[in-house]
């Protein structure tokens, strides 16, 4: 083994029911490097990490850790920790009901001579850790008192303090804002200087190029290659991840902007509102139009959509569909009018994890028909197969439980659910969050295709570029109020200005 190498994984293979999750994958980590593990959803990044930390058992291959004779097989997270491999997951794995100090030290508390926990020592050491990381935290307070971002940092602090040789960060930045990400990077660089090898899994390409030294790319459970960062410019990275030359995303939108007339208005909202979430707003959507809702997180984007859909009750104003005034009291009313909503929290509001892909797809259709008019099984199978093919959903079979699919594919299933109801009007709330760039492009293309077929859409996304590519009109929201619309000269700059406020929007 090379002197600098602290972790090698050779020929790792493992199978999930019906899917080859990892096929002969190699991975090498050197001392003092930050190594990005990249790949699309379902490429096998998480699985590889779980094999390393003992959560999944692998079928073939070997793991070697520096300083340990022979092949290493971990049976649990604890096992891995003892061998110097610590992991911080995307979801925070700490106990909210314990103090910060305990969360840092549980399982390895400092003891006094009698074998009792030495609280004073524990608190003193915790305070030092927090101070070193420049985090303003009272370590005697319960963890739940702090924000998610701080909790994430505390989770990392715990991992770091365990004298790890290998630190695995699985999507650690998804709940952090920019300044917090910066702090995290500072911390990562400190650790790197100390000789810790860091495995960094993320979807954010910029972050990879900011901190990483080396990239390993996986695709469909196979190793694509390992590259020093300088040898793999962004475009090539994306190409490696997708396995094809990257067609420029910007080119998917047709050049000429469609022209809409007043007769084409499908949705006409006047003065609709919901107390406490969104102030009265007007919004018109034409047939075949894609309207983007933009604004900062929490500015009322989702809330606006929920009022139109009837998920939150409209308390003032009126909604006209096709020129007729209608009342939407609950989502089922909206569904019967040909609306669909793809919620932003797909885990909680979208998928039903213990049902199969087929059942998830036909769910909305069945709900529309009512409980007593069961869709015949042959029809269900036909629909499910059609959409699995159309949206290229990667699943072992149509009867696979949806919870076994990767995030991007789950999203496609929910999209299929609504497409199956053949809606005239579809609300997509953050349909591309947390999914890989290939699927993102596919979903964007699909949005444009649907609009081409004369369907109307609301598209909500935090990524402005994505909206610029798909939308013909943007509604700007700020602090629970619709503050303007942009229809002409859509560009990153004008949108940013409008979101920030004080700028000149085309009212």
């Amino acid at each position: 083994m090379d002197n600098n190498v602290i972790l090698t994984m050779r020929g790792i293979s493992m199978t999930f029911p019906g899917v080859k999750a990892l096929d002969n994958v190699d991975f090498t980590l050197r001392r003092g490097e930050i190594h990005a593990l990249m790949g699309e959803n379902g490429a096998g990044k998480s699985t590889l990490i779980k094999c390393l930390t003992g959560i999944n058992a692998f079928e073939a291959g070997e793991i070697h850790v520096e300083g340990i004779q022979g092949a290493v097989v971990n049976h649990s997270t604890l096992d891995a920790q003892k061998k110097g491999i610590s992991t911080v997951y995307q979801e925070i794995n700490l106990c909210p009901n314990l103090s910060v100090a305990e969360n840092l030290f549980i399982g390895r508390e400092p003891k006094n001579k009698l074998g009792f926990i030495n609280w004073r020592e524990m608190i003193k050491r915790s305070e030092k850790i927090m101070k070193d990381l420049d985090m303003p935290v009272d370590v005697t307070q319960n963890l739940e008192e702090y924000s998610l971002a701080l909790q994430q940092m505390i989770a990392i602090a715990r991992a770091v303090d365990m004298d790890c040789k290998v630190l695995i960060l699985d999507e650690p930045t998804s709940s952090l804002d920019d300044s917090e990400v910066e702090k995290l990077f500072k911390l990562m660089n400190q650790l790197k200087a100390k000789g810790v090898g860091i495995v960094f899994v993320t979807h954010f390409l910029e972050q990879v190029y900011t901190v990483c030294d080396r990239i390993t790319v996986l695709r469909n459970g196979q190793l694509v290659g390992e590259y020093p960062i300088a040898d793999l410019p962004r475009v090539k990275l994306v190409a490696a991840m997708m396995g094809k030359d990257f067609d420029d995303l910007a080119s998917i939108k047709s050049e000429e902007a469609p022209v809409f007339t007043d007769e084409d208005i499908l949705i006409d909202a006047k003065g609709m509102s919901h107390k406490g979430t969104i102030k009265p707003f007007d919004l018109q959507i034409h047939k075949g139009e894609v309207v983007g809702l933009t604004g900062l997180l929490g500015s009322g984007r989702s809330e606006l959509a929920r009022v139109i859909y009837g998920a939150d009750k409209n308390q003032t104003g009126v909604l006209k569909v096709n020129g007729k005034e209608i009342k939407v009291n609950a989502p089922i009313d909206a569904m019967n009018l040909g609306m669909g909503l793809l919620p932003d929290d797909r885990k909680a509001e979208g998928i039903i994890g213990d049902l199969s892909v087929r059942e998830n797809i036909i769910l909305a259709m069945q709900a529309k028909r009512g409980v007593f008019r069961l869709l015949p099984m042959s029809k269900q199978i036909e629909i499910a197969d059609e959409y699995i093919k159309l949206l290229q959903i990667k699943t072992a079979s149509r009867e696979t439980l949806i919870c076994q699919l990767s995030g991007g594919n789950q999203q496609k299933v929910i999209l299929a659910r609504w497409l199956a109801t053949n809606p005239d009007f579809l609300i997509l709330d953050e349909p591309t969050r947390g999914i890989d760039i290939g699927t993102k492009t596919e979903i964007q293309k699909l949005v444009l295709k649907l609009a081409g077929e004369g369907k109307s859409l609301i598209f909500i996304s935090s990524e402005i570029e994505e909206m610029l590519r798909t939308c013909t009109k943007l509604a700007v929201l700020r602090d629970g109020e619709k503050v303007g619309e942009i229809t002409e000269s859509l560009s990153q700059e004008t949108v940013m200005k409008a979101i920030a406020g004080g700028g000149d929007t085309n009212e």
């Binding site: 649990s76 106990c95 009901n97 314990l98 549980i106 399982g107 005697t140």
Partner: protein, 337 residues
Amino acid sequence: MKKIKINSNTLLLLITIALFVVMYAVGCILYSDKGFTNLQTFLNLLINNAGLLCVACGMTCVMLTGGIDISVGSLIALDCMLLAVGMERWNQNPILLCILVLAVGVVFGLVQGFCVGYLKIQPFIVTMAGMFFARGMTAVICTDQVSISNKFFVSLAQMKISIPFGAVTNRRGVLQIPFIRITVVIALVVLVLVFLMLRYTKFGRSLYAVGGNESSAVMMGLDVKRTKLKAYVLSSFLCSIGGICFCLNTMSGNVQQAKGLEMDAIASAVIGGTLLTGGVGNVIGSFFGVLINGTISTLVKTNGKLLSSWSSIAVAALLCFFIVLQSVFAKIKDSKK
């Protein structure tokens, strides 16, 4: 001096303590002529509830993990029957029998803990089976009421430990020195040891971690299965200690003994601020929960005119009050975020 921050959990504990003080004060004002102000009345509260206190300590530990143990009432009946029949019919040494009872408790807990921790069966179902089993075994041993007349055991039960203060002369002019029984000493020692264990041992903190977020506890490298197993062993063991205390109080074995005691223990823990969902709670709270429980029935008894069912109604009202209070606190916490 360091500023002590009060979070919602300590606030709940303070409310429990305050409630006890208020309740007892009300009793003192209303029934001062009936001797409520005597120190002995308070000590009787401890004497009568020593067994329950031991059980409540164990129950708190199990509830911290998010579990529940409803087998404790029946286990106490089994313990008492073993002691009574052992001494009176089998002529065994009381000390040996006590050791046997404790061993039965440990085995009982091992089986239940294994089912909950390693086989991942719902604690409610597991301990319900334990409840039926223990009650059934009690009847198998003997269906009669068996009174204990063993000399050693009787002298142990009647032993008075005098308290050097608070003596009063009664109406006849006899000086009455307040006393406690050996059961109170046992129960208080249990209380202190469990308190220390929860605060200062790895096992104690693991109970909180498991109840707080089980999957996180696994990720942080704690042995969740083992922790749960130990929690149920501890509960059954403390319950057996409670059973001995209970027997010293009643001096008999009976199939119907301690029926519904598990519910008193759970009620005491909940009134004392332990969450049924786990992760929050303390034996000090449970101690005051037991005292409140005891005070209510003492108040009803001292009144003399009220039906004893009123004490159940009062406990029910208190339970509602505390559960509502807990959820209000949880709401406030959520809305702060």
